[in-house]
């Protein structure tokens, strides 16, 4: 009977920890222009904002959203971020990139810049701003040498905030905005061995953003 109670407690603890590793994503979408016009030959480019060294948008997040957009149903042609930035050098570096659509309008007045946009068939340029960070953590793990191994418990909360601004290249106007907020708690219990139970906050924020962008653009 006692063994059954222990089993039940263990299962309940494991289930609640696994459930707790889940993330919660909130998405907000705002359409500014009524028409979205993206055909099969058109491409988009996703760029991370990195003008502030403290809050740079991670390259792996941009790459993740790009990969999700260019695979599966309703695929979209996505120009890789680094390829685009190198091709447009020096006008899309962290310190020189246009911060607003008027500045982009000035840039595309340069014939060679406009030609690059035309050569790549870029219809929409999407700026993604935000990042994922650990907002708090608690607990401790002690790993003594020898057969005792590790013992303890650590948990932390991650939060991902991203906002995508979709610029229409043909109309030189803001088409819309999509923002995602994802939260999740990760746990690291250790009894002899540490067992990481990680919340996939950034990956879920990536999947959420990609799904919304596909819906927006198709």
């Amino acid at each position: 009977m006692r063994a059954q109670i222990y089993d039940l407690l263990l299962i309940t603890l494991a289930s609640s920890l696994l459930a707790a590793c889940n993330t919660v994503t909130v998405i907000d979408k705002q359409k500014v222009l009524d028409t979205i016009d993206l055909n099969d030959k058109d491409s988009i480019v996703l760029l991370g904002r990195r003008h502030s060294h403290q809050h740079e948008t991670e390259s792996d997040y941009i790459s993740c959203v790009g990969t999700n957009l260019s695979t599966g149903n309703e695929m979209i042609n996505v120009i890789p971020e680094h390829q685009f930035i190198d091709a447009m050098y020096p006008y899309f570096e962290a310190s020189t990139a246009p911060m607003n659509i008027d500045r982009l309008g000035e840039l595309v007045q340069q014939p060679l810049i406009l030609k690059k946009f035309t050569d790549y068939n870029i219809r929409y340029l999407i700026w993604v701003e935000g990042n994922t960070e650990t907002i708090d953590n608690s607990g401790a793990i002690s790993c003594a040498g020898g057969p005792a191994g590790c013992f303890g418990f650590v948990m932390w909360n991650d939060e991902a905030h991203y906002e995508a601004k979709i610029w229409d290249i043909n109309q030189l106007a803001l088409s819309g905005k999509i923002s995602t907020e994802t939260q999740g708690t990760s746990y690291l219990p250790a009894v002899i061995l540490p067992i990481p139970l990680l919340a996939s906050v950034k990956a879920d924020a990536c999947a959420g953003m990609a799904t919304q962008l596909k819906e927006f653009l198709k």
């Binding site: 390259s59 091709a87 050098y89 020096p90 006008y91 310190s95 020189t96 060679l112 810049i113 690059k116």
Partner: protein, 207 residues
Amino acid sequence: MLKQFRYIFILCSILLTACGQSFIVETSLDVPQPVPSPLPLKMAVLYEPQLREYTYTENNEDRINWSIKIGPSQVQLFDLILPAMFTSIDHIEQSSNTEGQGYDAIIIPEIKDIQFALPFETKSTLHETWIKYAIHIQQTNGIEITTMHVIGYGKSSNKTSIKFMLNEKEGLLYATNQAFRDLAAKIIVTFQSNSDIQKWLVSKSIH
């Protein structure tokens, strides 16, 4: 005899230790070809020895025998960007006696400062580099048009820094290349928007 061997052994040990801790590198340049946007100007550029042969040196408790040669990379950088900025660019050896050669202006880049930060110093996982330049632009008669002050910043990415932790040189060279990249981008963009340059271009009927 034994005493002589002892002295030789100590001397060799000191020399080997010193070699092991020295940090002697030369930077390299990996910056994309800029999108050309040449102004119709015939320009000359003067690379003074202080720029061409610039080597950053430091020797203290934390940075023993540091010697980072960046002169050749600087020349390479300006040789990459200037032809994208002007229709004609010539190298000159001195700024005097250039009147009558048809140059619109002379560019003299000057390195003012360079700083490095290593992960253990900033308690981060990043290598960082800052390079500060003064770019003097003057007429052939020596009258200054403007001096642009530009700072380039570069850092190794978090992902690559873990690898670089094992190789200090790689991390630092990567950060320095990023600083050169940032610097070159700022020089091109700043030149186009600099108010003194704008006035000068208007005076030459170039917009």
